[in-house]
Amino acid sequence: MSAWSSYRLEDFIPFTADVYYRLLERMGEDFWPLHLLTLLLGGTVLLLALRGRARLACLLLALPWLFVGVAYFMQRYGELNWAGRDIGWAFVLQGTLLAAAGASGFGIDRPARAIAPAVMLGMLLGLLGLLGMPLIAPLVGFDWFQAETFAIHPAPTAIVTLGVVLVLFRGIFLWAAGIIPLAWISVSGLTLLVLDAPWTPVMFAALAAGVLGLAVKSVAAYRRPPRGGAA
């Protein structure tokens, strides 16, 4: 038997469902009532993105990535998974990228119309991550502290960010800023799949919407005449 063909997805998830749900719960318990502030922060970021205040939106969005990278991955998830600390560093890198984009304005698109398809998809993802995700756990019978919240837990942080990236970024920067959120949404979806979590489809729906949004915006940019160019 070939060694690689014998591996299954479950071989890469080194903990059981109760451990994962307790991890979500511990983050919820340990940082309550920070959730209220993070929801406010997420709402502000979405509003700023929609109003074209891109650089400030990016600067604010950097903070949750740094926090989740350290508090969730390095201090807690890393106890359960060998890759935890490395993923934590990837989150810190994403936070740094967003902060750099906010400080320099690099890669930021001109303000888009709110009815542009990518912007609409981005906003939908933003609302899903910010308001939809925290409601899923209590709706499927879990504890409120297990509710996944933007800037406390990684999945809603990645989903909101992917939405904001769709609204704010352009060209290669669109993909550069979206790749880590996309990667985490994929890993998170696969983890939930192995653990048989009831909200697994939400993660794959967010992943599909994110990829679709990035593709739509890239194609639209390809067809669009360059800035200041003749029509």
């Binding site: 038997m1 903990f15 059981t16 991890l23 807690r76």
Partner: protein, 314 residues
């Protein structure tokens, strides 16, 4: 008057409860001993030391980090395991916090006489085999291990050499090698045939029986004790059976299998080359089921064939 009667009744009830509780407490060691005595034990061929046929695996299930609630929950699993007279607990530096969780449980429960501690060295965890041994011993809170194995054959030449030195120094009793999921069987066979090892750990269950053709006969020939991992194929086998099938009546009567845990575990440990199966669980009720499978009656060779045919027919 009525009040007095109530007080008397309550006192009588309290005394009755107290005497029952004291009687139960007095019975505990007897029950525990009875449970331990009822477990089938097979000798490790290198020394003749007998090992209960049902052990405890820790992959995934004991990786709970520093969560106090889950640490206590797993301690209860370990408590139940030893109350049944369990012996072998198997872990690895690859299993995240599992060795620390064992250390937590043993600190809380004390180290029972029946414990047979089995650990592994694994190159990707970093450090030499000796350093890993020292770290793992500190994590379990033990001065030594009964068994130290080379995890998944990674760097087995150097690692086995180091394990032999540790064995010669008396820091470990037995050495071994492991594989799982049917990986690297040819190389595994070569090490079994040529290396001076006491234990071989491999995947063996009723749906994965490749090892029956070469590795298990070789283990018997070379006097190597065998630990069977993934007895429930990562949990999916028993979950599927419990969900959709009933244990057939003939299995109850002829093979002593009242539950699917009995059926699957008795099949494994009734193989003459297998010393011990190591199901992993997070739940005390599942642990109790698993340990029941370690009691006689064990399936005969004819019954084992019937069990295979039954599973293949589903």
């Amino acid at each position: 008057m009525k009040g007095n009667t109530k007080v008397r009744t309550d006192r009588r009830r309290f005394l009755k409860l107290l005497s029952s509780a004291l009687a139960a407490m007095a019975m505990l060691p007897v029950l525990s001993r009875a449970a331990a005595e009822g477990l089938v034990r097979k000798p490790i061929r290198a020394t003749g030391e007998k090992l209960p046929v049902i052990g405890l695996g820790t992959w995934r299930t004991f990786n709970v980090g520093s969560d106090p609630e889950l640490l206590d929950a797993r301690t209860e699993v370990v408590r139940a395991f030893f109350r049944h007279g369990g012996g072998l607990v198997d872990s690895s530096p690859m299993y995240g916090s599992a060795p620390d969780v064992m250390g937590y449980a043993l600190k809380k429960l004390g180290v029972p006489e029946s414990l047979f501690s089995a650990e592994k060295v694994w190159s990707p965890a970093g450090g030499s085999a000796r350093q890993q041994f020292q770290q793992l011993a500190a994590r379990w809170g033990l001065p030594e291990f009964n068994l130290l194995q080379v995890h998944n054959l990674v760097d087995w030449q150097q690692q086995l050499e180091a394990l032999r030195e540790l064995k010669a120094e008396g820091k470990i009793q037995y050495i071994g090698i492991t594989t799982s999921h049917g990986r690297r069987h040819r190389e595994f066979e070569r090490v079994m045939a040529s290396g001076d090892i006491d234990f071989a750990q491999l995947t063996y269950n009723i749906t994965h029986r490749e090892v029956e053709s070469r590795l298990l006969p070789l283990a018997r020939e070379r006097g190597i004790a065998v630990i069977a991992n993934r007895p429930y194929d990562g949990g999916r086998l028993i979950k599927g059976l419990k969900r959709s099938e009933k244990v057939p009546a003939w299995a109850r009567e002829e093979c002593g299998c009242r539950t699917w845990a009995d059926f699957l575990l008795k099949f494994i440990v009734s193989h003459p080359a297998v010393n011990c199966a190591i199901p992993a669980t997070t739940r005390v009720d599942h642990l109790n089921e698993n340990m029941q499978a370690g009691h006689a009656l064990m399936p005969s060779p004819g019954c084992r064939q019937k069990m295979v045919r039954h599973i293949e027919s589903l």
